[in-house]
Symmetry: C2
Subunit: 218 residues, 2 copies
């Protein structure tokens, strides 16, 4: 029996505003560990602490999650996901081309999809009271829609981006969830069912339930 001391520890926020519940980035790490069949512990931190030393020594941008396991400490969700997936054939296949395709989709989620989606989130949530945010919305939405259409074309009629589920789908699905305040994904004939398929996975359900349960305690 492995002791609890050997379990990974995810540091995440003790409390978040309602719009963030269910999309805090630790979801990616919880989900990956659930897919890999690994248990984990959670360490909670106040928002103010994330913007100060000593947390900034661990996570230079003051973000969550931060990840620790014996001998390894990791900041940046993409790197954490890649690390967990590297040891789990259910998240990264062993065939070299299939493996690099899944890794490419992790990067695509973070760099080709999330920035335009986050810009829409900035306009709609963080800067919603600013005139520029309202004026920019049409252009910002169009940029996001263009990327979503590219994603839908790449997915085609497959269940998952590279055929079977990988860490690439995990990343892309959590990026798509950021748009849940719109119907851009849910009403899309290809992406809506794709996201629903990812969210129906038992490992996802356990992960999101754990996050929602934490924030329901407020």
């Amino acid at each position: 029996m492995r002791s609890r001391m050997s379990e990974p520890v995810i540091t995440t926020l003790r409390a978040v505003p309602p719009f963030a519940r269910g999309v805090v980035r630790d979801l990616r790490v919880r989900w990956a560990l659930e897919e890999a069949g690994r248990s984990y512990r959670v360490k909670l931190i106040d928002h103010a602490e994330t913007k100060q030393q000593p947390y900034l020594d661990d996570q230079p941008f003051g973000q969550v999650p931060f990840y620790e396991e014996p001998g390894i400490r990791i900041f940046e969700t993409g790197a954490i996901l890649l690390h967990i997936a590297s040891g789990s054939p259910g998240l990264l296949p062993s065939d070299p081309q299939a493996r690099i395709d899944a890794i490419s989709w992790i990067f695509a989620g973070l760099n080709s999809l999330e920035p335009t989606i986050q810009s829409l989130m900035n306009a709609d949530i963080f800067f919603r009271k600013k005139e520029w945010a309202q004026l920019s919305r049409e252009d910002t939405e169009q940029m996001a829609k263009d990327r979503l259409e590219r994603l839908a074309t790449a997915l085609g009629d497959k269940d998952y981006l590279t055929g079977s589920f990988t860490a690439g789908d995990l990343m892309v699905a959590t990026v798509l969830r950021i748009l849940r305040h719109t119907d851009l994904v849910t009403s899309h004939p290809v992406l809506g069912p794709y996201l629903a398929r990812c969210e129906a996975r038992p490992a996802f359900c356990r992960a999101v339930d754990a996050q929602m349960e934490l924030y329901a305690q407020d």
Copy 2:
């Protein structure tokens, strides 16, 4: 002697507007291959072709570069860089913690730094004629500056982010170069010298010269 057929092939744009010369994303791949001491070939593609089949089958977002070597085809610059770096101790150290730190900085460059920097680029270049772009500039610049200050704090008085040069520095430096139409990096007391240090590396000089030479032929 290895035949030229075994060399990696980078697909990139045949022509780009002046503001993009020296920051086209193939620079990251050229630089990584130069640091690894590997020769490569370049395959040129017209901009219009990148937005059509069959290129979209290879690169779902119609971006450059695309990367091929015998047995492996890769889209997404981050995945290409990680692949090249994995076989090069000068780009990814073998010590597990140092290695994961360097990988984290690749992801940080692409997801914690580039999105705010790209938003400023969108406001200043791509949407500069829109009223919202001008109105948003102060907020957009502040978001970028906040991330740059976090980066500067993480760098501190070290030469490179994890001590010695890695693929993480390569990625972060190419992200900082996107801001060359401003003085946000060049006038910064920590980041200015850091970027200059990265750009003084012989491998960088060979890579950027090769890109500039290509576009000087217009």
